[in-house]
């Protein structure tokens, strides 16, 4: 009897012998479980990668927006430096917008808070008209002449020019 052609069902039954009854179903279930686990792991990995990328972007943007830090002093180089005996100060003029200018007030708007004029008070009746002799008697200690310059005007001229500026009377 040629068994070759009919061996397939026998071979299938022989190989299935002593295998767990639910071998195929168990294998199917395990395959699906592993596939689901791989998918979950892949999704988790993608989410983690996305988070890391977002974090890196955030750090990058934060670094870009930081104010520039003053440069740290460079480490001492081997270059020989000469000590300066002066201190260099660099100045710059203020911009026009930073300068505040003032203007003098107009005369009508000026109000003085302190008096600028000495005020004196005179009272009438406490004097008398003297004649030429009495005048010359007053300045007797200082040589002077009385020169008539008109019908009702005269000029007292001292011999010493210093007396012309005035002197105390006794």
């Amino acid at each position: 009897m040629n068994h070759k052609a009919d061996n397939d069902p026998l071979l299938a039954d022989v190989l299935a012998e002593a295998a767990p009854a639910d071998f195929r179903d168990a294998m199917l279930g395990e395959t699906l479980r592993q596939v689901r686990r791989r998918r979950r792991w892949r999704q988790t990995r993608r989410a983690a990668a996305l988070l890391v990328a977002l974090g890196l972007c955030g750090i990058f943007i934060w670094q870009k927006n930081l104010p520039p830090r003053p440069m740290a002093p460079a480490p001492a180089l081997a270059v020989k430096t000469v000590a300066k005996n002066y201190q260099l100060i660099q100045t710059r003029p203020f911009p026009v917008s930073a300068i505040m200018a003032t203007q003098p007030l107009a005369a009508g708007q000026f109000i003085a808070s302190a008096g600028t004029v000495a005020r004196i008070r005179t009272s009438g009746g406490n004097y008398r008209v003297i004649n030429d002799d009495e005048l010359l008697a007053l300045v007797a200690s200082h040589p002077a002449v009385l020169i008539r310059t008109g019908p009702r005007s005269e000029e007292l001229v001292f011999a010493n020019p210093d007396d012309q500026a005035g002197f105390p009377l006794n």
Partner: protein, 170 residues
Amino acid sequence: MAWRTFYDAYFDRLWRYLLVVAAGNEDAAREALQGALVRVTRHIKIFRDESVFWNWLTVLARSAFADEAKKRRRYFSFLDRFTRHTRVELDGVKERQVEARLQGLLERHVALLPPDERNLVEQKYYAHRGVREIANELQITEKAVESKLSRVRRKLKDAVLAELNHESQG
């Protein structure tokens, strides 16, 4: 649905193939089959030709087996050294060779069965007679026929797998 169709169509075929690749080591074949099925879900694509698809499946199965073997060697390298664990020439294992080898081994071991057992197998698988019919002819119960058939199949399986293992070591 598509996965179930694929599974029903190729599960047994892959299982047989991996049994030969694994030289009759059922545990190794089972792990490799699991790995191969997971790989199918990950890399499945459209094939125009069934034979190309099967070749692709065998490549996946062999690489899954190789990976599982590597894992086992990593974990049990000490044991391997003493037990001279099965080493299989992976590249040369072709589908035709697998089927031919299994069929040949099966036929040889069927021929080596005692006459009563061989007769039982021939009645069931080559003459396609039902269990009840055989039981009536042998004047025993159907359950006894099933039990005997199960024992014979187990015997054949052990013999086939042992010889596969022996061949790979030789």
